[in-house]
Symmetry: C2
DNA sequence: GGCTTTTGTTAATCTAGATTAACCTCCTTT
DNA sequence: AAAGGAGGTTAATCTAGATTAACAAAAGCC
């Protein structure tokens, strides 16, 4: 089944009966995007929370100077959405755009509210997922203050070696909060010794 | 009752029966700290999630150079803990130290697991709380990349005017990721129109 | 194969914010 | 009232990383 990776992922955290899985699959929609397509567009309301089955996407923000800042990347088994927009159903601050052809399993806002009622463990599941996401985000704030750009790049590389391979460098530079020129310089320094 | 502010806060998100409140109060402990005391110490396991009833605390991190970085502040009606340490029950990355005499309502790890079973709405409650915390943290990451120090200070001031009054400037500088000298310069610029 | 677009590199110059250091309040405490 | 500490300011100098610009290497695409 197409949603198997999702079920497998959820059952790492909570137990699901076969009945739960039937209900779940009724409220989850599989959707395919081509490279370049948007899952969420800044200004639109974010209608879905998306679980990545395959492919790769970036979440980014265009500032008032028109410069893009990468908020996060997502690959297989990650979640992506503008969560702030999704929970409030107000316009999104971020874009989510596919960097490869991508397959996702999507929860709509209403679908998810129904699922919370019918499968109470999902409440626990999402609590746990978001706890981890919050902890990771807070660590990133700390790293941005206490590490140099070079150190942050090394951390990123060690933490997400799979992402580093799949994503162009200028997007990684943006994720790290530096220019592509400076990242290039760092990389040159790291390869010569 | 001493835990009234907590009940009031929770019932803004989910309904509680009087029975729920009795159960809750059996698993929540009120605790007082003096100014300067630690709620959590870097290296210890974070044993509690604390709801602030009164007072003020800072969450901070001491880096390898011995410099302190402020992760967040907490005042009345905020939550504080090293969540990463609390959920994994591994040593904390952060300190939580009181900046004023402080009264908190504390959930122990085991107590909270019991409460999740006995009051399923709490699962929902904490999911919602942490969703908002995650969204706020992600916005902070974006601000740190796309705004200047002066702009970030203005945002902080507008967003948390009550915190700005109660906390020394050098800690606010640290929260903003700048030195106290540079914050002082920014403030001088802002007062002379 | 050539031609355009997308990525990545190198180098010169510039700037936001760090560092260092000296000095100025207010509070406490004795 | 003196002394010490905690918090805040000002100013000179320094640096990590930005900006600008030019070029090189891949990667589509006709």
């Amino acid at each position: 089944m197409e949603i198997d990776p999702l079920i497998k992922y959820i059952t790492r955290y909570v137990e699901l009966t076969s009945q739960d899985i039937v209900i779940l699959s009724q409220h989850v929609k599989i959707r395919n995007y081509l490279k370049g397509q948007y899952i969420v567009q800044q200004g639109d309301v974010c209608k879905h929370e998306s679980f990545m089955i395959s492919g790769c996407a970036k979440t980014s923000f265009i500032d008032k100077e028109g410069d893009e800042h990468i908020v996060m990347f997502a690959i297989e088994n990650w979640w992506t959405a503008d969560l702030g927009s999704f929970i409030s159903q107000e316009p999104a601050d971020y874009n989510v755009q596919c960097l490869e052809n991508t397959k996702v399993a999507q929860f709509s806002y209403d679908g998810l509210q129904l699922l919370y009622q019918q499968i109470p463990q999902l409440e626990r599941f999402f609590r746990m997922i978001i706890q981890h996401a919050f902890v990771a985000s807070q660590k990133r704030v700390v790293r941005n203050f206490s590490l140099t750009a070079k150190e942050r790049y090394i951390v990123f590389r060690n933490q997400y070696p799979d992402i580093e391979q799949r994503v162009p460098q200028y997007l990684i530079a943006s994720y790290l909060g530096i220019t592509k020129q400076f990242l290039s310089k760092i990389r040159a320094e790291l390869t010569t010794q």
